[in-house]
């Protein structure tokens, strides 16, 4: 195992906003095909971490390697073309366009990347099935419910066929059924793709997680299996306390 380089690796990753240190010396590694959950209280630096990975923020210090490419400070579209896709915390979709057009835009870019694959339209139909929205394909995304827009965004990420998928709170605002379906999709994606999932819902984490990384005050506090993390007293103190006790 040790001979295979990690899919994603950060070394000493630090992000400062003036005097505020949002991420402090984060050393993180993700294997190929791994599914990792990130948890931590609000303000722990999870979203900042994602923003640096996708190029929306340039780190103050530190390195990020995706496969062999150093990507810290690259622009979002350059990183996306290397194969990192993200679903952001707040639904970040093309509100004025139809569901089909949203998915097509992602698929068309992917089809251009490796011209040998199936045509964009086939990807679109496939993704519409997987996110269970074929009956709303022509609907305008801005008029859908919050949960459905989450699906659309997950759909755009899937259609882009990235090597690594980052999901920032994928189950937020979803009904219980939708949450279960999201967990199914995540496990399905994980069969041939690596994922990092930020989530607050512990039930949801238990459904999908293998290894969990806990962020606290911009640093990685611990990293272990889901059971070990849930049993850890420090984690309970900073974050989980009430929810696990309940």
């Amino acid at each position: 195992m040790s001979t295979i380089p990690p899919l994603l690796e950060t070394r000493g990753l630090t992000m400062r906003f003036g005097g505020v240190v949002a991420n402090d010396d984060v050393n993180f590694a993700l294997e190929e095909m791994e599914l990792r959950c990130l948890i931590g209280p609000n303000g722990a630096g999870k979203s900042t971490f994602f923003k640096m990975l996708t190029g929306q923020l340039t780190p103050s210090e530190g390195r990020i390697r995706f496969r062999t490419y150093p990507i810290a400070g690259n622009l979002p579209h350059q990183i996306a073309r290397l194969g990192i896709g993200i679903k952001t915390q707040i639904p970040n979709v093309f509100n004025g366009l139809s569901v089909r057009e949203n998915i097509w835009l992602a698929a068309a870019r992917a089809a251009r990347r490796d011209a040998s694959t199936i045509r964009a339209k086939a990807i679109v139909d496939d993704v519409l099935e997987r996110i269970m929205l074929p009956h709303l394909a022509e609907a305008i995304v801005g008029q859908l419910s919050h949960g459905q827009r989450q699906w659309v965004e997950i759909g755009t990420v899937l259609a882009a066929e990235p090597e690594l998928i980052l999901l920032d709170e994928p189950a937020a605002g979803m009904t219980d059924e939708e949450t279960v379906r999201t967990a199914e999709i995540i496990r399905e994606i994980n069969k041939n793709r690596a994922l990092i999932v930020v989530e607050h819902d512990m039930e949801f984490i238990k459904m999908i997680a293998k290894k969990v990384t806990v962020f606290h005050q911009g640093r990685i506090m611990m990293e272990d299996s889901v059971d070990a993390v849930l049993a850890d007293s420090r984690v309970r103190d900073v974050y989980l306390g009430k929810k696990v006790a309940a």
Binding site: H77, T88, N95, G96, L105, A106, A139, I140
Partner: protein, 353 residues
């Protein structure tokens, strides 16, 4: 409205426009035909801003910069070559290159929308002052004197391609100008259906999402901006062909503002709206001008206020909404079963005109 209905309406509109262009010289007298030729050249300018603002999300306050550069490029080249064919090409290329240079700094420098407006406005003012002060023998390109505030009179108008001896008659100029307007409209429609156009609309909708999918918003916006500059420049050549004259007032702020008013009245986010707005407003202004009883700017201002308050979407989108409402009423009246699923597709996708 379903996609097929929309497409057939567009085809009908284009056919009607073609017929109108064809019969106009018979239907109206020469003076009016000249007026319509002027309006059509202005409508090309309207279309260029309607495209970059409505579909690229780029509000350029100085679209006249490209219009004026196109006009001057045409005039200088036509005087030097004596043939309008290469001059028309230059009227497209020069403003496009200028848009490329300006757009590169604006978009790759990540300058925000507000400053884009300020910069384009300022560039227009600079061009006005530059061309306004280039009077005298010192300022000439080849044999063409730029003329400063006096402008450049007696510019050769369009001739048959590569045949300077056969200059176009006013009727033929009308066919060229009206035909060019329709051709540009169709061309832009096709571009909006192409992958480039669809991505451009996506960038306008959500730049962050587009970049996270791997599209470079800077390059897309630059492409839209250059295209708009090229079209505006061509409009400038058509304008000079109408009047055989170009002066620095072509860079005036009032014309820049007028384009924005055309689009607001006709409808932002449509291609037909800017053309409709342009023809209506310019016709009104010319009528008022010949009556001399009102100040035309006063009327223009009043119309703009009425539209912003009562029809903020503009004429074309409002008419479309009314038609859709009527269509839905008619369907229900015939007793058809209402859709089981809520009709989410009733809302217009932006840019799906």
């Amino acid at each position: 409205m379903s996609a097929s209905v929309k497409l057939s309406l567009q085809v009908v509109a284009i056919l009607v426009a073609c017929v109108a262009v064809a019969v106009m010289p018979v239907a109206v007298d020469l003076f009016q035909l000249m007026q319509f030729t002027l309006f059509a050249s202005m409508a090309v300018l309207a279309l260029s801003l309607g495209f970059i603002w409505g579909f690229g999300g780029i509000l350029c306050f100085g679209q006249t910069a490209f219009f004026g550069l196109g006009a001057y490029a045409y005039a200088v080249a036509a005087i030097n070559f004596g043939d309008s064919t290469p001059a028309i090409l230059l009227a497209i290329i020069v403003p496009a290159l200028f848009a490329l240079a300006l757009g590169y700094f604006v978009f790759y420098g990540r300058i925000s929308d507000v400053y884009l407006g300020v910069i384009t406005l300022t560039v227009t003012l600079i061009l006005f002052n530059v061309f306004n002060s280039m009077a005298g023998d010192a300022y000439k390109i080849g044999t063409a004197r730029l003329g400063g505030f006096n402008g450049m009179p007696a510019v050769p108008t369009f001739n048959m391609p590569f045949d300077p001896s056969s200059v176009l008659f006013p009727e033929q100029s009308w066919y060229v100008t009206g035909g060019a307007l329709i051709a540009i409209y169709i061309g832009l429609r096709l571009i909006l259906r192409s992958p480039f156009g669809r991505v451009a609309i996506a960038v306008r909708e959500n730049e962050t999402r587009a970049s996270l999918l791997g599209y470079d918003p800077r390059a897309i916006k630059l492409g839209v901006f250059v295209l708009g500059g090229a079209i505006a420049g061509f409009g400038g050549a058509l304008y000079v062909n109408w009047g055989a004259f170009v002066g620095p007032t072509i860079f005036s702020l009032s014309l820049s503002a007028e384009i924005i008013i055309w689009i607001c009245i006709g409808g932002l986010g449509t291609l037909i709206g800017p053309i409709v707005g342009c023809f209506i407003i310019e016709y009104l202004i010319s009528q008022i001008g010949s009556q001399q009883s009102f100040n035309s700017n006063l009327v223009l201002g009043a119309i703009l206020i009425v539209f912003v308050l009562l029809l903020p979407k503009g004429l074309v989108p409002t008419i479309r909404l009314l038609l859709e409402g009527a269509g839905r009423l008619a369907t229900k009246g015939r007793g058809q079963a209402p859709n089981a699923a809520p009709d989410l597709s009733a809302g217009q996708p932006v840019g799906a005109e």
